[in-house]
Symmetry: D2
Subunit: 475 residues, 4 copies
């Protein structure tokens, strides 16, 4: 296996964070930078900012972390009051630079840039249509397809053209679009991915994947971009267009609550931190084990573990120390070292688990390859029993809307029963939160995509199509 | 001010982490790498590893994070079974590379390398003595002084020579020393800084600043290097020499408990995590305010906040989100953005503090420049009252034993009263843990250095001397 | 002025060198690398190689020198038997990376890559047409325009599609085109830029801008790609298509002889080195000055100076030393240092010019800003007289076919008389070779573009159009 | 073989170029930079500049080319009116950075920096003495030994201390030494390596290895630093001290004329360019072959080839094109490509050698591994006969004074006869210039070291000692 286990975690991966800013009186590139910085957890592979000044558009993007990509002089070269930005998680190594966002092109209507969070389920067919219309494509990215479609879309205004494309795009997308004198924010009809708007303190508006990014810019979210809407960030007011009819019920990604979003985000009107604590409380109700201590897998499961502890009165404590500076390393332990238990990512606080019956709370199990070693670490540290409780149901189906959970073969819950998984990870017990329990914690009956748990996709997915395309021919 | 507030925190800074490994059957450079990796929190500016194979010594060191400095081929070039490593925090920018450790030299007795955690209080005079003996010095580092003294020390063996130098060195030092066929670990007579020894599972020994690094190598600490000892890591057994008489009582740095060490470290026989929770409990006893929620300043104050919550029954909750990917950035907000509240390092979870009386727990206040903005963030998020409680007494005196807290002018508690500090940071109340309370949490009456709180230094410090030297002449 | 005089020379700049290789039995990426390496003098800003293996196409390109861009593992990732490569000179800093070549896209007929040397005079209108057809363009490059046109061209085969595009492209282009299983070489109807084909010793063919690159691959040029031809490099034989009718007479760029090509190139059946010596001989005939020594401006004018010396019997000698390691520096002398004569690029060999009447031979004067300082260096070294003789006529008109000579305002010969130029550079005399003399040296009466000397362009040039386009809107 | 044949040439390698500047009214770091830039041909591996302002000394050094190492801000950090600089050629890869110069240390008399060109033959014993005196050494460099000896030397002034050390140093050294308020230039008693002094146009003095570097700073050499002298660069006048008695006759390195120095240098009162032409003339007298063309191996042999041509009336012409942008590449041809004749460093101008009897002039043969391939290139290009003529006698003994020619085993002329060498390189004839002929060209009977030709060393060399030392123990 070529994977670097030090850098990998057994979690779903989100594709990106986006930001759009219109600030008539400000240094807009710098604002986009600070926004992206706060969205860094949504993608660490590449980032970019495009800025327009009413006439000219300029862009800087590269692979790496936001803080590495942008230097003072890089930002100084990005002049203007309109900006969009993107930070990207990517699975593909070789074509990384070519797939970085935003995508910027020249069109007959002037320059255009786009940054996208999500995945189109009909991208293969849209791509094929473009190719057949004689448009060459230089990347394997949905985003280029969307940009090229906008370049040739019908309509007198960008609003009309964006609307016309949205009628063809099927799947998950939250978008920020930059023209030479405007920033647009748009969201698919299902509302899969988040996108909120804030009113900037000195005039103008910002759009961002998460409220934390808005708060970093000194403002609070005033509304979401609603499913099917195009929102124009303009000087005096937001202009809202209902481009496509919202699907009812909507299909928000429940994983924003479970794992992706930072706890300070508010999604569907509810605090992520709060929902996570309730996930822990619901999980407590469904977990029938006796234990001495509740420990979280840091960092995402901490609020749920606190909730679990409150609901059960089993004391909460830290059990794992996570190496904060881990970064990418290309050094791997030799087999001999591995056998000796060399462990980089987590260490155990022995005294907190020694001779104890431990309940370990985590947010999800995808491939099932890190839970086993963690349980072993706890047992080596003297834990008497290790019970695992997960704040969502078993993930048994892939996501075709842009969350990288691998395919059917990768998913341990697709091909193993609950008890087989428990044996595989060598836990004393294993509890997944039920779908109902999860939705009770979320406080909604519907409006959420549950496809990865149920296999019932909110959109017809042509699985074959979702996997073909450009990658076969160029790299 | 030239400082970059994004990268700075208002905490004491430790000078380094060290590791030594003798593994007769293993890839010793790789082990040193994994050990350093786990000690990364003790210094992020530079790191290095020196390895000996019985004849030849080789070294690689550079500025940056451990994961950046070492690549597979770098480690492959470091052959042998004896290794020492160092990770460094540094205040000086310009001379960074020249002061990286280990220091390696050729001596009349063969090659020698040394890695050092601490600070000599008589280094200026030792340096002057070396210069007057006609030894040129190429850095401003204590470590070079120590290495050069070892090169000319009297004695037939390295043990004798190390012993003879230890009799001249006054101050804080935990050392690992590499010769062509041996690794030594040594510690000053006061025992200021930690250094523990572990027995490797496949033979040999490791020494490290913290137990977490030993655990990463698959072993537990079997003993500390005791004050005044030289411990030789050899194949069959540890060889222990009492080089200088241990000072009684010893003067362990209490800040290892308060802030420096990772919670999984065991210092003076006590778990750091456990002591931190007790610091919170003691602080709870001394803090006379009513509140609705206890929130920690992440990450170091989390265990204390949990302890505080337990002792008071005021609910614990997360209040701040810390940007995990912060890294070094060279971008600063413009004044205009700053006025709008652009904040990168922390965001607040609004709902957890809205309309609440908040007790914020932190480990220390040094300069007092970050507490104010954090309190403001809480108030902006709707906190009704903000009370601050600190898990140690006011820091009113500099450390001359290697912890960078700045000088007298820098220390807010040196020139302001408790109430002045409270007003400066705009807290509703401010409580520092008492010296007695802190020591109760630590579970010891003496044996700890309290100089930064009391001004009573365990060693006579010539303050002038501690600040002069090489820096004036070269840079 | 922002220019860095240390890095600039007063010569025309060529846009690029190209290479194409089909080698059924060889490591084709490595061959493309060695070919580009030999073409480095035709462009030092960026380079790239695209390779196909019959199915998949892969590419690596970046800014920098060929030797910096490609590492062993970079080449190992480029698998296949079909390759094209490009090395680029560029005037634009900001958009450098985006304009690097080859351009690679996916089309409805599979992957396609193209590398181009030249300039289309109708690119603005072709670009506009594409935009109006709804094709977005991501760079300001002709090459992207050409690639996108190929993607939508009519025709059943690539040969047909290339042919159909060539009928629309007006201007200078020598091209190598890569599909998943073929390499094509094509040249405009005027034959502006060179492109030769060689038969590889172990099978297959190579195409390259210069014979030196072919010789580096172990073969000699067997033919040029003739004006208007598409040549398919296939296993058994070359397949030649006359795509457009060749213009008669053709319009080869005479500057390949005067300056661009390496002396070991053969252009239009004549050795560049040989023609340069004859340029010197012709210049000797037209230069009516007495002198003691002939010195060249190194390196390009050396053969002409040897020829001049032979024809006049005035001894040839070195006069200038050129700093071979000059590279890019960002350091400029202060005014004070400049006044003291700080000179980096050239030093004079004093004894060779002291008290002598010097004839300095150079290949061209474009802006006229380096000749003056060089003459001053000679006088400071003691030259009694300095006569300048140039191996081509005055350059008074810009090139719209891809050679960067600046625009009308930049060209000193456009707005100054011969004597004004002489006074400006402070020469004792100034002789330009006559058009007839130059053509005598070349050994041809016609077939060469002389537009930069005469203003008579071989193609109707819409000067406005040649300068507008994408750059205004994005950067 | 691990060597990279693309980057290697079969020439002796010089160890460095040095520069010293005292400029009371100028930006001295920038001047040192420009000086080093002009000395780049004397060393391309590493470079450094140290500057003093009367009190503080600062330094920047690194591996790479001068233009890469220094940026505007790097120079801006080097404040003061006293500077020394160094550019280094090095054979050792691993310890490169540690051996870069200048060496800067703090001494009891203040800061000290030193840059050195040459090699001490008694360095092993001086190093041993230092080690035994208890001085640790951190590099394998002579220069550190010299610096450390200066730090402990007897004497009231730096002049006295330098003098006292010079009495112990045996071997080749030209030095520039920087203290906090002075620059010294010194040269060994034999005068092996060049060092000249120039009077700066705006006050102050400069010292440099070659006159070209002085000329770059706007001045001419006014004198050499004579053998055994220390010259103090001060405001009003040069202060000269005869530190050691000059050896008579002196032992200048004749290779400065043959190969090292740039042609614009003046060495021992004679122009290097002029001597090279005379070397060609003398060689012509001793070469008894008939031929049609004389071609040089570029660049160093060009003046000799011109001289040869003048003396024989056989026409001079270019035969080889040297790739000017070669740089370091890590790509090597496969065996298959190599067999096909892939050749990067040189291409032949076919027409100039086709059917001709060629005399190829080169400056020296050291290992004899590049001459064979070059002759083969000429034959492949159609040369009828290839005669080789070398502008110095056979090199049959190593240099222990700092020129890297390899050891006895490396030198082809040590273990092969003239005819065996001729057969090895497959030349039709091979002529070396005689010792007498070489000295006639130089215009001196004695005063030059001829050890590499005769084995008679001007200093007793303990060959064993010259090879031992630090390298064995650390790397």
């Amino acid at each position: 296996m070529n994977d670097n286990w030090l850098n990998e975690s057994d979690t779903p991966h989100e594709e990106c964070g986006i930001i759009g800013v219109f600030a008539p009186n400000e240094d807009v590139a710098r604002m986009a930078f600070f926004g992206l910085y706060t969205l860094q957890h949504r993608g660490q592979e590449a980032a970019g900012i495009a800025v327009a000044d009413g006439q000219v558009m300029s862009m800087h993007k590269d692979t790496g972390l936001v803080a590495q990509i942008f230097r003072p002089n890089t930002l100084d070269n990005l002049k203007g009051h309109y900006a969009i930005g993107h930070t990207r998680y990517s699975t593909t190594g070789s074509s990384l630079a070519r797939n970085a966002q935003p995508f910027m092109i020249e069109t007959m209507h002037g320059p255009l840039a786009l940054a996208h969070n999500g995945n189109l389920v009909n991208s293969a067919e849209l791509r094929q249509k473009l190719l057949e219309e004689g448009v060459g494509l230089s990347s394997s990215s949905d985003t280029e397809v969307m940009t090229m479609m906008l370049a040739r879309a019908k309509g007198k205004t960008w609003n009309e053209r964006i609307k016309s494309c949205m009628q063809e795009w099927r799947g998950a997308y939250s978008l920020v679009i930059l023209t030479r004198d405007c920033v647009y924010a748009a969201r698919d009809a299902w509302g899969f991915r988040p996108l909120s708007i804030g009113l900037l303190p000195h005039g103008g508006f910002a759009a961002a994947s998460e409220n934390g990014a808005l708060r970093t810019l000194g403002c609070e979210a005033i509304r979401e971009v609603k499913p099917g809407e195009i929102v124009t960030l303009s000087e005096n007011a937001l202009v809202v267009n209902q481009a496509v009819k919202p699907v009812n019920p909507s299909a928000r990604c429940v994983f924003e609550f479970v794992y992706f979003a930072r706890p300070d985000h508010v999604w569907d009107g509810q605090s992520v931190h709060h929902v996570r604590q309730r996930l822990g409380e619901e999980l407590a109700r469904e977990t029938r084990v006796e234990a001495d201590v509740v420990i979280p897998v840091p960092d995402s499961a901490i609020p749920a573990a606190i909730g679990f502890s409150r609901a059960t009165s089993i004391p909460f404590n830290d059990g794992f120390i996570k190496n904060r500076y881990i970064g990418r390393t290309f050094i791997e332990p030799t087999d001999s070292l591995r056998k000796q238990g060399v462990a980089l990512k987590f260490n155990v606080i022995n005294e907190n688990v020694l001779n104890k019956r431990v309940i370990m709370i985590d947010d999800s199990i995808v491939r099932g390859n890190t839970m086993g070693p963690m349980i072993k670490l706890l047992r080596t540290a003297g834990a008497r029993e290790v019970h695992v409780a997960i704040t969502c149901p078993p993930i048994s189906h892939p996501c075709f809307m842009g969350v990288d959970m691998g395919n059917y073969d990768d998913l341990i819950a697709h091909h193993r029963s609950l008890d087989e998984i428990r044996i595989h990870i060598q836990a004393d017990s294993l509890t997944y939160l039920s779908l109902d329990g999860m939705m009770r914690a979320v406080g909604r009956k519907d409006g959420y995509c549950q496809a990865c748990f149920t296999g019932i996709y909110p959109i017809d997915v042509d699985v074959i199509s979702a996997k073909t395309g450009f990658e076969k021919n160029t790299k």
